[in-house]
Symmetry: C2
């Protein structure tokens, strides 16, 4: 039986993260973080999204395009487990999977029309790299998709843990106003790998057209510099 | 940019539906309906599912293998809308999509070991055809995936509608005991296309190794025959 076939992107998402470091670890962790879904010319017709505004949330099925690997590794080491406990790839949301397909739920903010890009979807709560290929978009159906009582094993741990972010006004003012809330949400979500706890270490996170530099000491993150690229 | 690549099945699911008619329209509609996920030899190692039992629910990303089509149809006609209202394919869960990928949430009942099939996953609440190719399995993460307040447009309508099923004992006893509850759940979920309401029409649904014949009159479904195949 030959059940192999070719996937092709239907769209690409534009986000403020061109580097992996600092991207929220799951959707919704940074509710203000926006994405702009631009359809490929072949799929760029308002018909294909007719009625989509009736749904508050969407599933994006995407290509972990930076995680394509030859061969099959049955176990992965999720960063949330300190990077040294191994779990099965099918018990994780790791990007390194036999078929490198990701799944993420975003909020649909609105549909916009752009002269060059056609109808684009503006979504929030994203956790995707800029220019991630989207291979499908599906409406979120609460009665089938929402299971608030589900048990999430190790993914339940720490989900509420937030850092206190100190962002001096002089530095914050460098960031455009409409990008500040999302940046603070991403910082407060603790971008470090969970095995790093050196208070003297300076971290740099690429966000939009900025490099944001910070230290973390205990549960406080302090921004110490912002460079425009 | 070439972002086309080949998907390959990691597993196949065994279910009691070898025909489309009667399959629950979303996962969880027939909570007792079981599936048995058998990994392909290449991916058949207990390592790949290590830790999976810590999760109560799983996402199955699957191939709508009976819905592969050439060309792109931007609109579909969901059966729940009477089959004549068109919505955009990305505002629907229709199988007829540019990349024919499906998404469904199931409950993980247990992991079983079989001498020939290795470690298999027993799941419930399925809505898949027998032998559907599974291309990924991911744990359900409640804090990211569960949105009980999401708005589901037309998919919110009718979600609680159930038929009263009259299943005479003499007929029910033909069905193995452990397959009865799921069958009744599927029948009560009203297998008809929503535009058919002819009380004289006799329907036949293939279930496991049986053909189940019934009429529907108003909100009552009466089973009138069961044939073993």
């Amino acid at each position: 039986m030959s059940d192999r076939w070719m996937v092709e992107p239907i769209a690409y998402i534009r986000t403020d993260f061109s580097d992996k470091f600092g991207i929220p670890r799951q959707s919704g962790r940074a509710p203000s973080l926006m994405g702009r879904i631009v359809f490929e010319p072949k799929f760029r017709t308002p018909d294909a999204i007719r009625g989509i505004e009736g749904f508050s949330h969407l599933w994006l099925i995407f290509d972990f395009s930076k995680a394509h690997r030859e061969g099959f590794s049955p176990v992965v080491r999720p960063p949330r487990l300190g990077g040294n406990r191994r779990v099965g790839v099918f018990a994780s949301r790791s990007p390194f999977r036999p078929n490198p397909i990701g799944l993420t739920c975003v909020k649909l903010e609105r549909v916009e029309f752009d002269e060059n890009e056609g109808h684009v979807l503006i979504v929030s709560g994203v956790d995707l790299l800029n220019m991630t290929p989207i291979i499908d978009i599906k409406p979120y159906i609460p009665f089938a998709d929402s299971h608030p009582d589900a048990v999430g094993s190790y993914a339940d741990e720490e989900s509420g843990h937030k850092l206190h972010v100190v962002f001096p006004d002089a530095l914050l003012s460098i960031i455009p106003e409409n990008k500040r809330a999302a940046l603070i949400e991403c910082l407060s979500d603790d971008p470090r790998p969970s095995y790093q706890h050196d208070p003297n270490r300076k971290y740099s996170m690429r966000y939009s057209s900025f490099d944001v530099h910070f230290h973390i000491n205990g549960s406080t993150l302090e921004v110490v510099g912002v460079d425009e690229l």
